[in-house]
Symmetry: C2
Subunit: 330 residues, 2 copies
């Protein structure tokens, strides 16, 4: 090959590369042109620029996201609880004897007050009966079926349409910039895995969540893993850093949440050395979504609001910072 | 750019590609030209050829490997136990009062019989005292220090030199063919993470292992995760499919082990639909490595040998199938 043709090859490669890169395209089109968007982009540019003193190698670009209230909505109740109630009702129709307690009877009858009277133990009872006795694969198939037909009681939208378009763009932007994006949720790991890949582009092994007992048996000739009920790990509050260390084995450099259940995850992430980013989604938009913070029983955000500024965490104001809310609508 | 220069560019690119691809190179040079090597390559070619009826998309190409006795040696004792004993001795020199039981005293004195008299509970006591009271990061740094200086009592080699060269080639080959390679070990997750990336090219989040209690605290202002001791999850036998499902969330298509502790992992992996591969490393080479199977207290392989043929699992005969054993020597 001649020097001339090698030069031509170089020129052709450069031309092709230029065509492939949509220079100046906005990576976050559903974010308004506010300080929040600018802070995110400035951070990503700092840690991905090899010439920057804050450059972070790809292997260390780990970003963690809470799910409920951060990637999709969580009002008027966690969607997983709505799922559990529907499963309970449908099982009870086939076999009313499973309603063996007042809490379960109230739940199956749609009596929310009677259901809440059982407190946390009552909720765990409902989750248990709807989440056990099947393999994780069967459970995920059931959850997928439900998500494909059930609709939100307030908006009438499918639940996966109530993921936040700006957050989907943020996940994609970070991955395009060499980040690994994980979900770290107080919700059940199998429930989230049932839709995370399709909804967020996050595969099962990048989901960290609360976990129940499972067991393995090959009795009868067919090896089976079964969800046995109970809770072995609660991935919330202090549990989030613990779950991250167990599953990922490394401290993230970017963490996003929306409630005080995410406080420790943000605290631990941003206490590491080098460039770190903590972000809180603040539910300020009662018109397009739901407005709640310090007084909410679901997704309460109180300490996080008090301390975000001093800790250097970005508080995203949904009403101000997002031009669009739902992935499934305008 | 002219058509001519575009053609030149194409030719140059083709020439560069031809240079970059070592066509017909043996992906497993330390495997002899036996049926074992042929079976592995035939499987990989079947599942990666889009024209094959057994084609498996990249996202589903998950391969799991036991560690002790499968990726590195495990005789005369698990290397993690040798590490624990060294840590115990060095801590006891600084503070003899930590030797609070007969088992710990025997262990620190190198009295193996006295140490084994404590049974499994005694071994857990030794692991506990040497594996707790520090953060996972500190623990991993200690393990790395030890691995960089300690040597094997029999061979005099550093422990990471006693990884198996044929298995390193297999890991690399699978990754080159789009597989994700995980370790699924009965050993402690943090101990394995301390060297898996350097030794095997396997990052922390692709290590599944036994787990102890950890807790998070930010008291005193600095957020810390601490290894509290105890065992919360044993990733052995029936625990291996459970650990895989928890960490990976998906059934692998390829599993490799060497002892009956891996039986359920192979059983569950190969019971899935579509193409599956189960592989047992059989320690037949007393001259170059160690020869043991049905009667060994460490890495006992009995049921696996009985059932491998009927289950279609490949039994690798180290003496026959490997031209080289150690990564760190000939």
């Amino acid at each position: 090959m001649s020097i001339t043709s090698l030069r031509s090859a170089g020129a052709a490669a450069a031309a092709l590369c230029a065509l492939a890169l949509p220079a100046l395209a906005d990576p976050l089109p559903s974010w308004n042109d506010t300080a929040a968007e600018a802070a995110i982009i400035a951070f990503v540019e700092r840690v991905t620029d090899p010439a920057s003193g804050d450059y972070v190698p790809e292997a260390d670009r780990i970003a963690v996201f809470d799910n409920d209230g951060t990637l999709w909505a969580e009002q008027p109740a966690y969607f997983q609880l709505l799922f559990a109630l529907d499963v309970l009702k449908s099982r009870a129709e086939a076999d009313p004897s499973i309603l063996s307690s007042d809490v379960l009877k109230a739940a199956a009858a749609g009596d929310m007050a009677g259901m809440m009277a059982g407190g946390e133990a009552g909720l765990l009872e409902i989750l248990d009966i709807s989440h056990s006795g099947v393999s994780p694969e069967e459970f995920m198939a059931t959850a997928r079926d439900w998500l494909s037909t059930a609709t939100h009681p307030g908006t009438g939208m499918p639940f996966t349409a109530m993921t936040y378009q700006p957050m989907l763009e943020l996940l994609r932007y970070l991955r395009d910039e060499g980040f690994a994006t994980y979900i770290v949720s107080g919700g059940g790991i199998d429930f989230i895995r049932s839709f995370a890949e399709e909804a967020y582009g996050i595969p099962p092994w990048q989901v960290v969540g609360s976990e129940g007992n499972t067991s393995y048996s090959a009795e009868g000739g067919t090896p089976l893993i079964t969800k046995d009920g109970g809770v072995t790990f609660i991935d919330d509050k202090e549990g989030k850093p613990v779950g991250i260390m167990r599953h990922i084995g490394q401290r993230p450099i970017f963490a996003a949440g929306n409630s005080d259940g995410d406080f420790q995850m943000l605290e631990w992430t941003t206490a590491g050395e080098g460039p770190r980013f903590g972000m809180i989604v603040h539910h300020t938009d009662g018109a397009r979504e739901f407005a709640y913070d310090r007084e909410s029983s679901i997704g309460r955000l109180d300490r996080g609001l008090d301390e975000a500024e001093a800790r250097g965490w970005l508080v995203v104001d949904m009403a101000q910072d997002w031009s669009r809310v739902w992935a499934g609508g305008e």
